[in-house]
Symmetry: C2
Subunit: 526 residues, 2 copies
C-alpha cells in the first residue's frame, strides 16, 4: 500500500514550480507568465493597474486566485489565469512571490495638504463624523499588512489602490470580511480615495507583520472552530453602515488633531497620545502593562469619541467618589485604576501601575487635559460621557447564541480563541478578549452590561450599531464567560472575593464558565 | 542702702488690692467700685453697655484704662475712674479681673439667617467684594482673642459689641492698630453689625489664646525693637480703606461658600478647605508641614481671591511646564511643590510632601476642583490668576527703609522678629516671615518681586494697596534679607546652589544678609 502510493505520486508529472509559472506561464492551460504584468521582481507596473505582489503573504495570494476563479474578484486577464491554475500551482506561485523582497515605495509623496488628508484617515480614520476606522487599524500602522487577512498597502501602486477602493465601493469585489471595506470605501469621497492611494503609494513598503499568538495563547481550549469563523451559518453581507445615534452632532469637540500645544506641554500631550494608543509596548508605559491591552482599545478614536468613554468627559468629572474603591479618586488615581484592572499591571514588569509623577501618568493626564480644552470644570454630565447604555435584551443573554455571533462577527479580528492579533513587535493590533492577554476580573469590561453596551455601539470596529441588541448581549455574555487574569482584589478565596466584589448578575466571576468550572478559579496567567 | 530702701517702701501706704478696688472702689479718688457695673464676677450687664471684663488679658485691661484716661476711649463713667487710678492700681485691677473665670456666653443664638451672615463674616470676612478679613483672623477662630493685642469677643454682650463697632466706625475710639477696626467697621452695614454682635454674644467664651513664640523663635537676633513696633516714627492713621483695583468686578466666581457638593466628594472638598486653612496643624496634613505656614497664608480668602493666587485659576492651568523643575507638572505635583518649598516639608514629621493618593492631596485637589467649577479647562490666562504684578519702584529697594515699614505696618501681626503669632495649640494666627517657621529659600515668596507684589496688594491684611509701591518693595527686601530654612535643592555648596537656582537679582540667596553673612549659609532650623 505504501509502495503503491509512492509509485502513484511518482507516476504523475512533476508540477511546474512557482518560478516556472511566473516566468513562463503554463501555455497549454492558458496561463500566461505572471511576470508579463507583475514584473520579474513582482513589483507590478505603476499606471497600468497591475499591482505589486512581491512579499504578499502566500495565503493571501492563494485566496485572491480563488476569488478570481470564482468570479468574486473581476479582471479580464486574471480570470483565465486563475481558472487555469490548480490548487498546487496556486500555492507554488504564491510561495514564489511571497518570498520575494518587497520593492520600494511606488510613487512620489503627494503635496502636504493631500498628505495630511490621507495621513489623518490612515492613522486616525474619521470616527467623529463617520465612525470610520483608521486604515492602519487593520493594514498595520505602517500599512504593510497584518497576518494573512489584512494585506499590505504601503508602496502599492496608486492606480491599483484606487481601482480596488472603487471596486469595494461599487460592490465589484467580493468576500469583504464583515462588509468592512465596502462600508469604508462607500464613506470616502473620491478626492479622499485619490489622496489615500497617492499617499500609501509613497509609503515605505516592507514585509507584513505576522500575527503572533502562540506565546499568548490563552489557557482555555479553542471555543470557536475555523469553520465557524470563515464559513459560519450567518450570512455574509454587503456594506453595513454604522448607525451613529442621531444625536451624535452637538457633542463637545476636543481640539483638532495635530493642533498640539507648543513646547514641553505639547511634548507631553503627544507622548500621552502615543502611550494611549500603544500602552503595552511603548518604551515609557510598556513596563506597567501586564497583558496585551492599550488605553485605545476601550476608548475608541484615542479617547476622542463620544459615547466611547471619551477622555474629555472623564477629565472634567474627576476628582469623584467611586464605589469601586470606596474613596474619592483623583483623575490620576482613575488612570492608575485602568492600569490595575484593564491592563492588569500586577503582572507587568513594574508589578503595578505607574506612579503619579511618572512620565506615563503625566503624559496621559496632559493628553486628557488637552482633549478637554475649554470643557467646563466639574461637569459630570457632559453628553457622550462613558458608554451609551443598552436596554435589556428581550431574551436573557445566551452564551451559545453569543458563540455564533462571535464566530461570524468577532473572530476575524479577535481570533478564534479570543486571543486577538498581536504583531511580531508585540504591538496589539486587535486586543485579546480573554485569557492572559485580556483585561482582568476587576476591569469594567468584565461586566456584561458594560461589554454589551460597548459592543453594540462600537463593534465590529467601524460597524458599530450593526448588531442587534440581543446579539450584543449574547456575545458579551459569551466573551465574559471565559477565564482571564485574577481580580487584583482577590482576597484568597474565590467565594469571598465573589461575594464582596461581584455580587451582581452583571458579573460571572465565581459562577460557572463554559466548561462548568467557576470563573476565577483558574485565572489566566502568563 | 538696702535697708533704707525697704524702709522707704514700708513708709508708704499699702496700695489697694485689685479685689478692694473692684468691690469697694477708692472713694477718696473718685473711683467707684468696678463691680457696680461689671458685676462681682466681671460678667458686665447685658443691655446696659457694660462689658464683660472677666478673663480679658491684663495688659489689655491696663491699656484700655490708659486710653480712657487719655480720652482716646470715651465714656462718662470710665473717664473719672481711669483718671483716678494710678499705674499700680490699674495693673492690680487688671490682674484681678484677668484671673477670673470667663463667664458663659451672653445671649441667645440669633435666627439661622442672621447667624449665617455673621458666621460668614466671622469666619471668612468678605474678601471678594470688600477685601474684608474675617473677624476670627485677629480675634481667634473661636472669637476668644489672641495674645494681648486682640481681645476676645465671643460671649461679650451684644449691645457692648455693637456700641464699640459703631465707635470704631465713627472715629470715637482711638488707638486703632493700623486703622484696621475703623476700616472694618466702616465697611459693615448696620444690619451686619447687629448680626455680628448678636452672634458673637452667643458664642462660647473662653480664655484668650496666648501667642506662643519662644519655641519658634528664629535663629536670628531681634531686628525691630519694641519701641519701633509700638511707637515708631510713622504716623498712626485713621481708617485706611483697601483699594481693590477697579477691575475687581468681572473675575471668575467660585461656587458660594457652604454650597459644598453632596456625599463623599463634598466631604473631600470640606476637608480640603480645612486643610488649606490649617495645613500645619490639621490632623491630616500637619505631619507634612515643616514650618508654621498654611496654604491660606499665601492664598488669601482660602484660595478664592482674584490676584491672590486663586486656586480656581491655577486648577485649570495644570498640567503645565515649569522651569523650576524643568518638567511638565500635574496639579498634584504643583501642590506637592507648595509643601516642599512654602511649607518646608523636608523638616516635617513625614520628611516630605504628601503622596499623590494621600487624603491630604486628594482633599486639596477636590477643593481646588470645586472652586474651579465651570471654569474652562486649559485656560492658562484667567483674569486674576497668580499675584498682580508690581511695577519696579522708583528707587532701588532699601532694607533700612523696609525695616521702618515693617515696624510700623507689619510687626503688630508678624512680630518684632518676624516670628508671627502662633497659638498655644500651635495654630498659625499670623505666619512667621523668616526663621525656622517661615517658607524656605526655594519658595516663590523668597523672591523680592513676588513678595513685593503680594505685600502691595494684600498687606496689611484687609488694608491691601495702602502701602506705596516703594514701601512694598522696601519691606519685601527687608523681609527676604533674613535667614530661613535651606533650599531643598541645596546641592552641598552655597555657591553652586546660588548659581544654579538663584542667579537673579530677585533672590538674595547667597548674597549678604543684614548681618553681612551670605544668606543661605546659616539656614534656620528647628
Amino acid at each position: 500500500m505504501f509502495v503503491l502510493l509512492t509509485l502513484t505520486v511518482c507516476a504523475q508529472a512533476a508540477p511546474p514550480t512557482g518560478e516556472t509559472i511566473a516566468t513562463q506561464g503554463i501555455p497549454d492551460k492558458g496561463v500566461s507568465a505572471c511576470m508579463a504584468c507583475h514584473g520579474a521582481d513582482g513589483s507590478g507596473i505603476a499606471g497600468s493597474g497591475f499591482p505589486r505582489i512581491a512579499g504578499l503573504p502566500a495565503p493571501h495570494i492563494v485566496r485572491q486566485l480563488q476569488l478570481y476563479a470564482e468570479g468574486k474578484r473581476q479582471h479580464p486577464l486574471m480570470l483565465p489565469i486563475a481558472n487555469g491554475l490548480d490548487d498546487a500551482e496556486r500555492k507554488a506561485i504564491a510561495r514564489y512571490y511571497a518570498a520575494m523582497p518587497v520593492p520600494a515605495a511606488s510613487g512620489p509623496a503627494p503635496d502636504e495638504a493631500t498628505a495630511r488628508v490621507a495621513q489623518n484617515l490612515a492613522m486616525w480614520g474619521d470616527w467623529r463624523d463617520r465612525h470610520l476606522p483608521a486604515c492602519g487599524q487593520c493594514h498595520g500602522r505602517d500599512g504593510n499588512g497584518i497576518g494573512d487577512a489584512f494585506p499590505g498597502i504601503a508602496g502599492q501602486h496608486a492606480d491599483y489602490l484606487k481601482s480596488q477602493l472603487l471596486a469595494w465601493r461599487d460592490g465589484k469585489r467580493g468576500e469583504d470580511p464583515l462588509g468592512m471595506m465596502a462600508s469604508v470605501a462607500a464613506q470616502l469621497t473620491e478626492s479622499e480615495i485619490d489622496a489615500l492611494a497617492t499617499w500609501y503609494a509613497a509609503q515605505p513598503s516592507g514585509p507584513a507583520q505576522a500575527a503572533m499568538d502562540a506565546q499568548l495563547r490563552p489557557a482555555q481550549a479553542v471555543t470557536v472552530s475555523d469553520e465557524e469563523v470563515h464559513g459560519g451559518d450567518m450570512p455574509h453581507h454587503g456594506p453595513v453602515a454604522s448607525s451613529p445615534a442621531p444625536d451624535d452632532a452637538g457633542y463637545f469637540q476636543p481640539p483638532p488633531r495635530w493642533s498640539y500645544p507648543a513646547g514641553p506641554l505639547g511634548d507631553a500631550v503627544r507622548l500621552g497620545e502615543e502611550v494611549f494608543e500603544r500602552t503595552n509596548t511603548h518604551p515609557e508605559s510598556g513596563r506597567f502593562v501586564g497583558n496585551d491591552q492599550t488605553c485605545g482599545n476601550c476608548h475608541i478614536d484615542a479617547g476622542r469619541l463620544a459615547n466611547s468613554a471619551p477622555l474629555w468627559a472623564a477629565y472634567v468629572a474627576y476628582p469623584a467618589y467611586r464605589t469601586k474603591n470606596d474613596k474619592v479618586n483623583t483623575y490620576i488615581e482613575r488612570i492608575q485604576g485602568c492600569f490595575k484592572y484593564s491592563m492588569n499591571a500586577q503582572a507587568s514588569a513594574a508589578g503595578g501601575p505607574p506612579a503619579a509623577d511618572s512620565d506615563t501618568i503625566v503624559a496621559l493626564e496632559a493628553y486628557s487635559y488637552w482633549l478637554a480644552t475649554a470643557a467646563p470644570t466639574g461637569d459630570q454630565l457632559m453628553p457622550g460621557r462613558g458608554y451609551r447604555k443598552l436596554a435589556a435584551s428581550e431574551q436573557p443573554p445566551d452564551a451559545e447564541r453569543g458563540k455564533q455571533v462571535y464566530a461570524a462577527k468577532c473572530a476575524i479580528c479577535h481570533g478564534a480563541n479570543g486571543q486577538g492579533v498581536i504583531g511580531t513587535d508585540r504591538e496589539t493590533v486587535f486586543p485579546p478578549l480573554w485569557g492572559a492577554g485580556a483585561y482582568n476580573w476587576g476591569a469594567g469590561m468584565h461586566r456584561i452590561k458594560t461589554a454589551a453596551a460597548f459592543i453594540k455601539h462600537n463593534m465590529p470596529l467601524g460597524l458599530g450599531n450593526s448588531l442587534t441588541d440581543q446579539q450584543a448581549w449574547d456575545v458579551a455574555l459569551f466573551m465574559n464567560s471565559h477565564e482571564r487574569p485574577q481580580d487584583p482584589r482577590f482576597n484568597g478565596t474565590l467565594e469571598e472575593t465573589a461575594q464582596r466584589f461581584h455580587a451582581s448578575e452583571d458579573s460571572l466571576y465565581g459562577k460557572p464558565g463554559l466548561d462548568g468550572k467557576p470563573l476565577g478559579s483558574n485565572p489566566a496567567k502568563r
